[in-house]
Subunit: 195 residues, 2 copies
DNA sequence: TGACGAAACGAACGATCGTGCTATTCTCGC
DNA sequence: GCGAGAATAGCACGATCGTTCGTTTCGTCA
Protein backbone atom coordinates (compact mmCIF):
# COMPACT_ATOMS: atom_id res chain seq x y z
CA UNK A 1 0.00 0.00 0.00
CA UNK A 2 1.33 3.44 -0.93
CA UNK A 3 2.29 6.02 1.65
CA UNK A 4 -0.73 8.17 0.92
CA UNK A 5 -3.20 5.35 1.26
CA UNK A 6 -1.58 4.34 4.53
CA UNK A 7 -1.87 7.70 6.26
CA UNK A 8 -5.31 8.07 4.78
CA UNK A 9 -6.38 4.91 6.51
CA UNK A 10 -4.80 6.04 9.77
CA UNK A 11 -6.70 9.32 9.49
CA UNK A 12 -9.98 7.52 8.94
CA UNK A 13 -9.39 5.22 11.88
CA UNK A 14 -8.82 8.22 14.13
CA UNK A 15 -11.78 9.92 12.51
CA UNK A 16 -14.13 7.10 13.42
CA UNK A 17 -12.78 7.20 16.96
CA UNK A 18 -13.38 10.94 17.31
CA UNK A 19 -16.74 10.98 15.55
CA UNK A 20 -17.82 8.18 17.87
CA UNK A 21 -17.50 10.72 20.70
CA UNK A 22 -18.60 14.02 19.15
CA UNK A 23 -20.56 12.96 16.08
CA UNK A 24 -19.88 13.40 12.39
CA UNK A 25 -20.78 17.07 12.53
CA UNK A 26 -18.62 17.70 15.57
CA UNK A 27 -15.65 16.08 13.88
CA UNK A 28 -13.48 19.03 12.83
CA UNK A 29 -10.50 18.94 10.53
CA UNK A 30 -8.36 20.84 13.01
CA UNK A 31 -8.82 18.43 15.90
CA UNK A 32 -8.50 15.44 13.59
CA UNK A 33 -5.21 16.84 12.27
CA UNK A 34 -3.95 17.43 15.79
CA UNK A 35 -4.97 13.91 16.77
CA UNK A 36 -3.03 12.35 13.91
CA UNK A 37 -0.02 14.67 14.19
CA UNK A 38 -0.56 16.25 10.81
CA UNK A 39 -1.11 19.75 9.57
CA UNK A 40 -4.63 20.86 8.80
CA UNK A 41 -3.90 21.46 5.13
CA UNK A 42 -1.96 18.24 4.75
CA UNK A 43 -4.86 16.27 6.07
CA UNK A 44 -7.38 18.29 4.12
CA UNK A 45 -5.62 17.48 0.84
CA UNK A 46 -6.59 13.85 1.28
CA UNK A 47 -10.29 14.54 1.08
CA UNK A 48 -10.92 17.88 -0.61
CA UNK A 49 -13.91 18.79 1.50
CA UNK A 50 -15.35 18.13 4.89
CA UNK A 51 -18.36 16.39 3.41
CA UNK A 52 -16.09 14.01 1.56
CA UNK A 53 -14.25 13.34 4.81
CA UNK A 54 -17.53 12.58 6.55
CA UNK A 55 -18.52 10.15 3.82
CA UNK A 56 -15.16 8.41 4.04
CA UNK A 57 -15.34 8.17 7.82
CA UNK A 58 -18.78 6.70 7.43
CA UNK A 59 -17.49 4.16 4.92
CA UNK A 60 -14.74 3.20 7.36
CA UNK A 61 -17.28 2.72 10.16
CA UNK A 62 -19.43 0.64 7.86
CA UNK A 63 -16.60 -1.65 6.88
CA UNK A 64 -15.58 -2.05 10.52
CA UNK A 65 -19.14 -2.97 11.40
CA UNK A 66 -19.38 -5.46 8.56
CA UNK A 67 -16.07 -7.02 9.56
CA UNK A 68 -16.92 -7.42 13.24
CA UNK A 69 -20.63 -8.19 13.07
CA UNK A 70 -22.11 -9.10 9.71
CA UNK A 71 -19.35 -11.25 8.23
CA UNK A 72 -18.75 -13.40 11.33
CA UNK A 73 -22.47 -14.05 11.53
CA UNK A 74 -22.61 -15.10 7.90
CA UNK A 75 -19.93 -17.70 8.56
CA UNK A 76 -22.24 -19.53 10.94
CA UNK A 77 -24.69 -22.27 9.89
CA UNK A 78 -27.88 -21.03 8.27
CA UNK A 79 -30.96 -20.48 10.41
CA UNK A 80 -31.25 -19.76 14.08
CA UNK A 81 -27.50 -20.17 14.82
CA UNK A 82 -26.76 -17.49 12.26
CA UNK A 83 -29.42 -15.16 13.66
CA UNK A 84 -28.12 -15.78 17.15
CA UNK A 85 -24.54 -15.10 16.08
CA UNK A 86 -25.62 -11.84 14.47
CA UNK A 87 -27.20 -10.74 17.73
CA UNK A 88 -24.25 -11.81 19.85
CA UNK A 89 -21.65 -10.14 17.66
CA UNK A 90 -23.72 -6.99 17.49
CA UNK A 91 -24.15 -6.97 21.24
CA UNK A 92 -20.45 -7.57 21.78
CA UNK A 93 -19.51 -4.69 19.51
CA UNK A 94 -21.73 -2.42 21.59
CA UNK A 95 -20.45 -3.76 24.89
CA UNK A 96 -16.83 -3.31 23.85
CA UNK A 97 -17.79 0.17 22.62
CA UNK A 98 -16.41 -0.54 19.19
CA UNK A 99 -16.97 2.69 17.30
CA UNK A 100 -18.24 1.04 14.15
CA UNK A 101 -21.85 0.32 14.94
CA UNK A 102 -22.20 3.06 17.52
CA UNK A 103 -21.15 5.74 15.07
CA UNK A 104 -23.88 4.59 12.74
CA UNK A 105 -26.57 5.10 15.34
CA UNK A 106 -25.15 8.50 16.20
CA UNK A 107 -24.87 9.62 12.60
CA UNK A 108 -28.37 8.39 11.81
CA UNK A 109 -30.00 10.60 14.44
CA UNK A 110 -27.62 13.45 13.65
CA UNK A 111 -28.48 13.64 9.96
CA UNK A 112 -32.03 12.36 9.83
CA UNK A 113 -33.31 15.90 9.29
CA UNK A 114 -30.42 17.29 7.26
CA UNK A 115 -30.68 16.60 3.57
CA UNK A 116 -27.51 15.96 1.60
CA UNK A 117 -25.12 13.24 0.49
CA UNK A 118 -24.32 12.13 4.03
CA UNK A 119 -27.96 11.52 4.81
CA UNK A 120 -28.44 9.77 1.48
CA UNK A 121 -25.56 7.44 2.24
CA UNK A 122 -26.92 6.74 5.70
CA UNK A 123 -30.27 5.81 4.21
CA UNK A 124 -28.59 3.38 1.83
CA UNK A 125 -26.53 1.86 4.63
CA UNK A 126 -29.52 1.46 6.87
CA UNK A 127 -31.55 -0.16 4.12
CA UNK A 128 -28.67 -2.54 3.46
CA UNK A 129 -28.48 -3.41 7.13
CA UNK A 130 -32.19 -4.12 7.33
CA UNK A 131 -31.99 -6.22 4.21
CA UNK A 132 -29.07 -8.19 5.65
CA UNK A 133 -30.96 -8.89 8.85
CA UNK A 134 -34.07 -9.93 6.96
CA UNK A 135 -32.01 -12.17 4.68
CA UNK A 136 -30.33 -13.88 7.62
CA UNK A 137 -33.71 -14.37 9.24
CA UNK A 138 -35.06 -15.92 6.04
CA UNK A 139 -32.48 -18.68 6.25
CA UNK A 140 -34.16 -19.53 9.53
CA UNK A 141 -37.50 -19.86 7.78
CA UNK A 142 -36.20 -22.03 4.97
CA UNK A 143 -34.37 -24.21 7.51
CA UNK A 144 -37.63 -24.72 9.36
CA UNK A 145 -36.42 -22.99 12.53
CA UNK A 146 -38.99 -20.23 12.26
CA UNK A 147 -42.62 -20.12 11.20
CA UNK A 148 -43.17 -19.95 7.46
CA UNK A 149 -45.42 -16.92 7.82
CA UNK A 150 -42.99 -14.97 10.01
CA UNK A 151 -42.22 -11.50 8.67
CA UNK A 152 -38.48 -10.97 8.03
CA UNK A 153 -38.81 -7.20 7.65
CA UNK A 154 -40.71 -6.98 10.88
CA UNK A 155 -38.01 -9.02 12.57
CA UNK A 156 -35.33 -6.68 11.21
CA UNK A 157 -37.16 -3.67 12.64
CA UNK A 158 -37.71 -5.43 15.95
CA UNK A 159 -34.10 -6.46 16.30
CA UNK A 160 -32.96 -2.95 15.44
CA UNK A 161 -35.21 -1.65 18.19
CA UNK A 162 -33.72 -4.06 20.71
CA UNK A 163 -30.22 -2.94 19.77
CA UNK A 164 -31.12 0.74 19.85
CA UNK A 165 -32.60 0.39 23.32
CA UNK A 166 -29.47 -1.49 24.36
CA UNK A 167 -27.22 1.29 23.06
CA UNK A 168 -29.21 3.86 24.97
CA UNK A 169 -29.25 1.94 28.22
CA UNK A 170 -25.62 0.93 27.91
CA UNK A 171 -23.98 4.13 26.74
CA UNK A 172 -26.14 6.90 28.10
CA UNK A 173 -27.47 5.36 31.28
CA UNK A 174 -24.62 2.94 32.04
CA UNK A 175 -27.34 0.53 33.09
CA UNK A 176 -25.70 -2.77 34.15
CA UNK A 177 -28.96 -4.58 33.33
CA UNK A 178 -28.88 -3.36 29.72
CA UNK A 179 -27.39 -6.53 28.33
CA UNK A 180 -29.76 -8.79 30.23
CA UNK A 181 -32.73 -6.78 28.97
CA UNK A 182 -31.47 -6.99 25.42
CA UNK A 183 -31.07 -10.74 25.77
CA UNK A 184 -34.56 -11.12 27.19
CA UNK A 185 -36.04 -9.08 24.37
CA UNK A 186 -34.10 -11.05 21.76
CA UNK A 187 -35.25 -14.38 23.17
CA UNK A 188 -38.82 -13.13 23.16
CA UNK A 189 -38.46 -12.24 19.50
CA UNK A 190 -37.09 -15.67 18.69
CA UNK A 191 -39.73 -17.61 20.56
CA UNK A 192 -42.43 -15.52 18.88
CA UNK A 193 -40.90 -16.41 15.53
CA UNK A 194 -40.78 -20.09 16.41
CA UNK A 195 -44.25 -20.72 17.80
CA UNK B 1 -45.91 37.19 32.32
CA UNK B 2 -43.15 39.80 32.10
CA UNK B 3 -41.66 40.89 28.81
CA UNK B 4 -38.41 39.09 29.46
CA UNK B 5 -40.06 35.80 30.30
CA UNK B 6 -42.20 36.07 27.18
CA UNK B 7 -39.38 36.51 24.70
CA UNK B 8 -37.43 33.92 26.60
CA UNK B 9 -40.17 31.42 25.96
CA UNK B 10 -40.35 32.38 22.30
CA UNK B 11 -36.60 31.86 22.04
CA UNK B 12 -36.84 28.42 23.60
CA UNK B 13 -39.67 27.40 21.32
CA UNK B 14 -37.59 28.35 18.30
CA UNK B 15 -34.60 26.68 19.91
CA UNK B 16 -36.39 23.35 20.17
CA UNK B 17 -37.46 23.68 16.56
CA UNK B 18 -33.92 24.33 15.35
CA UNK B 19 -32.24 21.76 17.60
CA UNK B 20 -34.73 19.22 16.30
CA UNK B 21 -33.09 19.66 12.91
CA UNK B 22 -29.41 20.19 13.69
CA UNK B 23 -29.05 18.84 17.23
CA UNK B 24 -28.26 20.56 20.50
CA UNK B 25 -24.61 20.98 19.56
CA UNK B 26 -25.44 22.36 16.14
CA UNK B 27 -27.76 24.92 17.65
CA UNK B 28 -25.79 28.17 17.48
CA UNK B 29 -26.62 31.43 19.17
CA UNK B 30 -26.20 33.36 15.95
CA UNK B 31 -28.70 31.37 13.93
CA UNK B 32 -31.11 31.23 16.84
CA UNK B 33 -30.91 35.02 17.17
CA UNK B 34 -31.51 35.46 13.45
CA UNK B 35 -34.45 33.07 13.63
CA UNK B 36 -36.12 35.02 16.41
CA UNK B 37 -35.26 38.45 15.00
CA UNK B 38 -33.03 39.39 17.88
CA UNK B 39 -29.43 40.43 18.22
CA UNK B 40 -26.92 37.82 19.29
CA UNK B 41 -26.01 39.67 22.46
CA UNK B 42 -29.61 40.41 23.35
CA UNK B 43 -30.46 36.75 23.11
CA UNK B 44 -27.30 35.67 24.88
CA UNK B 45 -28.13 37.87 27.88
CA UNK B 46 -31.11 35.63 28.61
CA UNK B 47 -28.97 32.58 29.26
CA UNK B 48 -25.41 33.61 30.08
CA UNK B 49 -23.79 30.65 28.36
CA UNK B 50 -24.43 28.24 25.56
CA UNK B 51 -24.55 25.33 27.95
CA UNK B 52 -27.26 27.03 29.94
CA UNK B 53 -29.17 27.63 26.72
CA UNK B 54 -28.87 23.95 25.84
CA UNK B 55 -30.18 22.94 29.24
CA UNK B 56 -33.11 25.32 28.91
CA UNK B 57 -33.94 24.10 25.42
CA UNK B 58 -33.85 20.57 26.79
CA UNK B 59 -36.20 21.52 29.60
CA UNK B 60 -38.57 23.04 27.07
CA UNK B 61 -38.51 19.87 24.97
CA UNK B 62 -39.13 17.80 28.08
CA UNK B 63 -42.14 19.82 29.11
CA UNK B 64 -43.54 19.66 25.58
CA UNK B 65 -43.11 15.89 25.60
CA UNK B 66 -44.77 15.56 28.99
CA UNK B 67 -47.66 17.75 27.87
CA UNK B 68 -48.33 15.90 24.63
CA UNK B 69 -47.52 12.32 25.63
CA UNK B 70 -47.19 11.55 29.32
CA UNK B 71 -49.95 13.69 30.80
CA UNK B 72 -52.66 12.70 28.30
CA UNK B 73 -51.83 9.05 28.95
CA UNK B 74 -52.08 9.51 32.69
CA UNK B 75 -55.60 10.87 32.28
CA UNK B 76 -56.76 7.54 30.89
CA UNK B 77 -58.08 4.65 33.03
CA UNK B 78 -55.43 2.62 34.80
CA UNK B 79 -54.11 -0.54 33.18
CA UNK B 80 -53.98 -1.49 29.55
CA UNK B 81 -55.93 1.55 28.30
CA UNK B 82 -53.37 3.81 29.89
CA UNK B 83 -50.47 1.85 28.43
CA UNK B 84 -52.14 1.91 25.05
CA UNK B 85 -52.75 5.65 25.26
CA UNK B 86 -49.10 6.21 26.13
CA UNK B 87 -48.06 4.31 23.04
CA UNK B 88 -50.56 6.05 20.77
CA UNK B 89 -49.70 9.54 21.96
CA UNK B 90 -46.01 8.79 21.66
CA UNK B 91 -46.48 7.43 18.17
CA UNK B 92 -48.58 10.43 17.17
CA UNK B 93 -45.94 12.86 18.41
CA UNK B 94 -43.40 11.09 16.23
CA UNK B 95 -45.67 10.93 13.22
CA UNK B 96 -46.52 14.62 13.46
CA UNK B 97 -42.80 15.27 13.87
CA UNK B 98 -43.37 17.16 17.08
CA UNK B 99 -39.91 18.25 18.12
CA UNK B 100 -40.37 17.37 21.78
CA UNK B 101 -39.71 13.67 21.85
CA UNK B 102 -37.55 13.59 18.77
CA UNK B 103 -35.13 16.11 20.20
CA UNK B 104 -34.67 13.85 23.18
CA UNK B 105 -33.60 10.94 21.04
CA UNK B 106 -31.25 13.15 19.08
CA UNK B 107 -29.72 14.74 22.16
CA UNK B 108 -29.29 11.36 23.83
CA UNK B 109 -27.14 9.95 21.04
CA UNK B 110 -25.37 13.28 20.63
CA UNK B 111 -24.21 13.53 24.23
CA UNK B 112 -23.93 9.90 25.31
CA UNK B 113 -20.14 10.12 25.10
CA UNK B 114 -19.66 13.75 26.15
CA UNK B 115 -19.53 14.23 29.90
CA UNK B 116 -21.00 17.37 31.37
CA UNK B 117 -24.18 18.90 32.73
CA UNK B 118 -26.14 18.32 29.54
CA UNK B 119 -25.38 14.62 29.58
CA UNK B 120 -26.19 14.44 33.30
CA UNK B 121 -29.57 16.06 32.70
CA UNK B 122 -30.28 13.70 29.83
CA UNK B 123 -29.54 10.73 32.07
CA UNK B 124 -31.96 12.03 34.67
CA UNK B 125 -34.65 12.65 32.06
CA UNK B 126 -34.22 9.23 30.53
CA UNK B 127 -34.40 7.55 33.93
CA UNK B 128 -37.57 9.51 34.68
CA UNK B 129 -39.07 8.43 31.40
CA UNK B 130 -38.29 4.77 32.02
CA UNK B 131 -39.72 5.05 35.51
CA UNK B 132 -42.90 6.64 34.16
CA UNK B 133 -43.35 3.88 31.63
CA UNK B 134 -42.74 1.19 34.23
CA UNK B 135 -45.17 2.86 36.62
CA UNK B 136 -47.88 3.04 33.99
CA UNK B 137 -47.28 -0.60 33.17
CA UNK B 138 -47.59 -1.51 36.84
CA UNK B 139 -51.13 -0.19 36.91
CA UNK B 140 -51.82 -2.86 34.31
CA UNK B 141 -50.49 -5.54 36.64
CA UNK B 142 -52.49 -4.37 39.63
CA UNK B 143 -55.62 -4.14 37.49
CA UNK B 144 -55.11 -7.72 36.42
CA UNK B 145 -54.58 -6.87 32.77
CA UNK B 146 -51.03 -8.18 32.76
CA UNK B 147 -49.30 -11.15 34.34
CA UNK B 148 -48.29 -10.61 37.96
CA UNK B 149 -44.72 -11.68 37.22
CA UNK B 150 -44.30 -9.38 34.21
CA UNK B 151 -41.25 -7.15 34.46
CA UNK B 152 -42.14 -3.43 34.26
CA UNK B 153 -38.54 -2.33 33.70
CA UNK B 154 -38.16 -4.82 30.90
CA UNK B 155 -41.36 -3.51 29.37
CA UNK B 156 -40.06 0.06 29.59
CA UNK B 157 -36.87 -0.91 27.76
CA UNK B 158 -38.82 -2.90 25.17
CA UNK B 159 -41.23 -0.07 24.49
CA UNK B 160 -38.37 2.38 24.18
CA UNK B 161 -36.79 0.08 21.62
CA UNK B 162 -39.99 -0.06 19.60
CA UNK B 163 -40.20 3.72 19.59
CA UNK B 164 -36.53 4.15 18.69
CA UNK B 165 -36.87 1.80 15.76
CA UNK B 166 -39.99 3.70 14.72
CA UNK B 167 -38.13 7.01 14.82
CA UNK B 168 -35.36 5.62 12.68
CA UNK B 169 -37.64 4.06 10.11
CA UNK B 170 -39.93 7.07 10.02
CA UNK B 171 -37.48 9.96 10.00
CA UNK B 172 -34.36 8.60 8.35
CA UNK B 173 -35.80 6.02 5.99
CA UNK B 174 -39.23 7.59 5.40
CA UNK B 175 -40.53 4.04 5.51
CA UNK B 176 -44.33 4.09 5.10
CA UNK B 177 -44.54 0.76 6.91
CA UNK B 178 -42.84 2.19 9.99
CA UNK B 179 -46.05 2.81 11.88
CA UNK B 180 -47.49 -0.60 11.10
CA UNK B 181 -44.28 -2.25 12.27
CA UNK B 182 -44.34 -0.26 15.49
CA UNK B 183 -47.96 -1.27 16.08
CA UNK B 184 -47.16 -4.94 15.43
CA UNK B 185 -44.25 -4.82 17.83
CA UNK B 186 -46.33 -3.09 20.48
CA UNK B 187 -49.14 -5.62 20.22
CA UNK B 188 -46.60 -8.41 20.51
CA UNK B 189 -45.30 -6.83 23.70
CA UNK B 190 -48.79 -6.56 25.13
CA UNK B 191 -49.81 -10.09 24.31
CA UNK B 192 -46.58 -11.38 25.82
CA UNK B 193 -47.39 -9.42 28.97
CA UNK B 194 -50.92 -10.84 29.08
CA UNK B 195 -50.30 -14.52 28.53
C1' DT C 1 -43.95 62.77 34.12
C1' DG C 2 -39.56 61.35 35.76
C1' DA C 3 -36.74 57.94 37.18
C1' DC C 4 -35.07 53.45 37.60
C1' DG C 5 -34.32 48.69 36.37
C1' DA C 6 -34.97 45.37 32.83
C1' DA C 7 -34.25 44.26 28.10
C1' DA C 8 -32.11 44.61 23.80
C1' DC C 9 -28.53 46.37 20.78
C1' DG C 10 -23.95 47.19 18.33
C1' DA C 11 -19.36 46.46 18.09
C1' DA C 12 -15.60 43.95 19.07
C1' DC C 13 -12.74 40.15 21.08
C1' DG C 14 -9.94 35.80 20.44
C1' DA C 15 -10.63 31.28 18.79
C1' DT C 16 -11.84 28.04 15.50
C1' DC C 17 -14.25 26.69 11.43
C1' DG C 18 -13.56 24.97 6.30
C1' DT C 19 -10.90 26.05 2.45
C1' DG C 20 -7.72 27.87 -0.79
C1' DC C 21 -2.89 28.90 -2.31
C1' DT C 22 2.34 28.24 -2.58
C1' DA C 23 6.36 26.07 -1.07
C1' DT C 24 8.77 22.36 0.79
C1' DT C 25 9.69 17.58 1.78
C1' DC C 26 9.36 12.93 0.78
C1' DT C 27 8.74 8.46 -2.17
C1' DC C 28 9.57 5.68 -5.61
C1' DG C 29 10.49 4.11 -10.53
C1' DC C 30 14.20 4.56 -13.74
C1' DG D 1 21.14 8.69 -7.41
C1' DC D 2 18.29 11.50 -9.81
C1' DG D 3 14.16 13.43 -11.33
C1' DA D 4 8.99 13.41 -11.46
C1' DG D 5 5.14 13.45 -8.90
C1' DA D 6 2.89 12.55 -4.69
C1' DA D 7 2.50 13.99 0.07
C1' DT D 8 2.74 17.33 3.53
C1' DA D 9 3.53 21.86 5.59
C1' DG D 10 2.90 26.93 6.16
C1' DC D 11 0.25 30.76 5.82
C1' DA D 12 -3.69 33.38 5.03
C1' DC D 13 -8.62 34.20 3.85
C1' DG D 14 -13.45 35.10 5.19
C1' DA D 15 -16.93 33.33 8.07
C1' DT D 16 -18.78 32.01 12.26
C1' DC D 17 -18.29 30.48 16.92
C1' DG D 18 -19.25 31.85 22.13
C1' DT D 19 -18.56 35.72 24.93
C1' DT D 20 -17.83 40.52 26.90
C1' DC D 21 -18.70 45.36 27.37
C1' DG D 22 -20.77 49.81 27.07
C1' DT D 23 -24.73 51.99 25.43
C1' DT D 24 -29.39 52.64 24.23
C1' DT D 25 -34.21 51.60 24.29
C1' DC D 26 -38.21 50.01 26.67
C1' DG D 27 -41.61 48.89 30.39
C1' DT D 28 -43.29 50.09 34.83
C1' DC D 29 -44.36 52.27 38.92
C1' DA D 30 -44.01 56.34 42.16
Amino acid sequence: MSKGALTRQAILHHGVEIAYHVGLGGLSIGTLAAGTGMSKSGLFAHFGSKESLQLDVLAQARSEFVDTVIRPALSMPRGEPRVRALFEKWLASGRARLPGGCLFVKAATEFDEQAGPVRDQLVRDHRDLYESIAQIFRTGISEGHFRADADPEQFAADLDGVMLAFYHANRLLDDPAAETRARNAFEALLSAARA
